[in-house]
Symmetry: C2
Subunit: 230 residues, 2 copies
């Protein structure tokens, strides 16, 4: 069976869990606190980032994008119209660009900051970077979030799904990120109805259910977090 | 013909140029200064990152990793033993991990900082972020570089090529990054002989030649930069 070292507040971890669920794969989950820099975890991934996936006794499959490519090659490519990547190379370009956008750019500008300041710091020792939240980091991340949410809405207004006519990794990467921010009550859905309508479609998928029932110690989710019609 | 919006001091741009040269593809180059945020360029790539590749009248292919995947699917997959990605999905995992390491992690911790402080700032207006170099950013990037160079040396000591027995994207991504730092005279090769031996092998490849003769306005390369036996 597949093993996944993950954290519930890591967007790339959520992305891989949703992909696995969409493909009907069972996975054994191991929660990892990356800031602890456990020796066994660093041996799997010297970059100390999440997730890390392992199939059988194979080498570590590091990160959301690399895991996504591996799952596309070993599962998706055989799924016909349920494949989560478009069929043509030039169409895959847009799905990959947006997956990188949400797991890379948006993570670095929004998600990672808010999670660190509002969640991880509660659990970190002072030597690990713990302490009171940095208000200016939170403010900057919230300002950036507005632009990213606008971008999701614009994509959702222009296309059936974010990367084109079919559900793809781009939707799952965006929804993985936004679901974390939604848990934290950071999203002003009322400002972007097209993004909200798109997210409701994602949220109702069975692959999303386990994420919606999961709770992070010390941080209660926003009231509407698990509601499918919010 | 392929078009590439690039900058000579962008590691991901160099990576794509080397891949194209390895596959014998001709490409028309357009130098882009990303900090100028040209409207036409932002329309191609709202993230304003380099490179952006265009094939025929197709949609923009954004970034080193996405361009690399596209070229693997449309060129590499048909190259038999000259393919720059391993044949098996589980082996491609390591090549992808390292490509991301050098174009993502190392770029964000070393290359991009040194290039910004030592090259781009010479050319930037004050409103664009120009001004004197930030000594503490340079110091931090140089400290990080030591670890990355050690990692390259360790990989080169343990394997024939960085990701395994064959030349792959991992080598080209690492060499693309290191060639920029070498131009700037930032690399203490004498401390890491295994990294140096590996880099000499890369540097002697015909695909590297155009990079070694290119000069950046206002910044002379280190004396040994273009020498194959340095």
């Amino acid at each position: 069976m597949l093993k996944l070292h993950h954290h519930p507040m890591s967007a790339a971890s959520r992305f891989v869990r949703i992909v696995l669920a969409e493909y009907g794969e069972r996975v054994e989950l191991f929660e990892e606190k990356p800031w602890e820099r456990r020796r066994e975890f660093l041996a799997l991934n010297p970059a100390a980032t999440l997730p890390v996936m392992i199939e059988d006794a194979g080498p570590p499959i590091v990160g959301g994008i690399v895991s996504g490519e591996y799952l596309d090659e070993t599962r998706g490519a055989f799924q016909r119209d349920k494949r989560l990547m478009p069929d043509k190379p030039i169409e895959r370009v847009e799905a990959r660009r947006l997956t990188e956008w949400f797991l890379g750019k948006m993570d670095g500008e929004v998600t990672r900051y808010l999670v660190k300041e509002r969640v991880f710091k509660l659990d970190m020792a002072p030597a690990e970077g713990g302490g009171p939240p940095d208000a200016s980091a939170i403010r900057a991340a919230r300002a950036n979030l507005k632009h990213h949410l606008r971008y999701v809405a614009w994509l959702a207004e222009s296309r059936d799904w974010l990367a084109g006519p079919r559900l793809s990794y781009a939707d799952l990467a965006a929804a993985a990120s936004l679901s974390i921010l939604d848990y934290l009550g950071e999203i002003a859905w009322e400002n972007e109805p097209a993004a909200k309508e798109w997210y409701m479609r994602l949220k109702s998928r069975p692959s999303f259910r386990p994420l919606l029932t999961e709770r992070v110690r010390g941080v209660a989710p926003a009231g509407h977090y698990a509601e499918l019609d919010f």
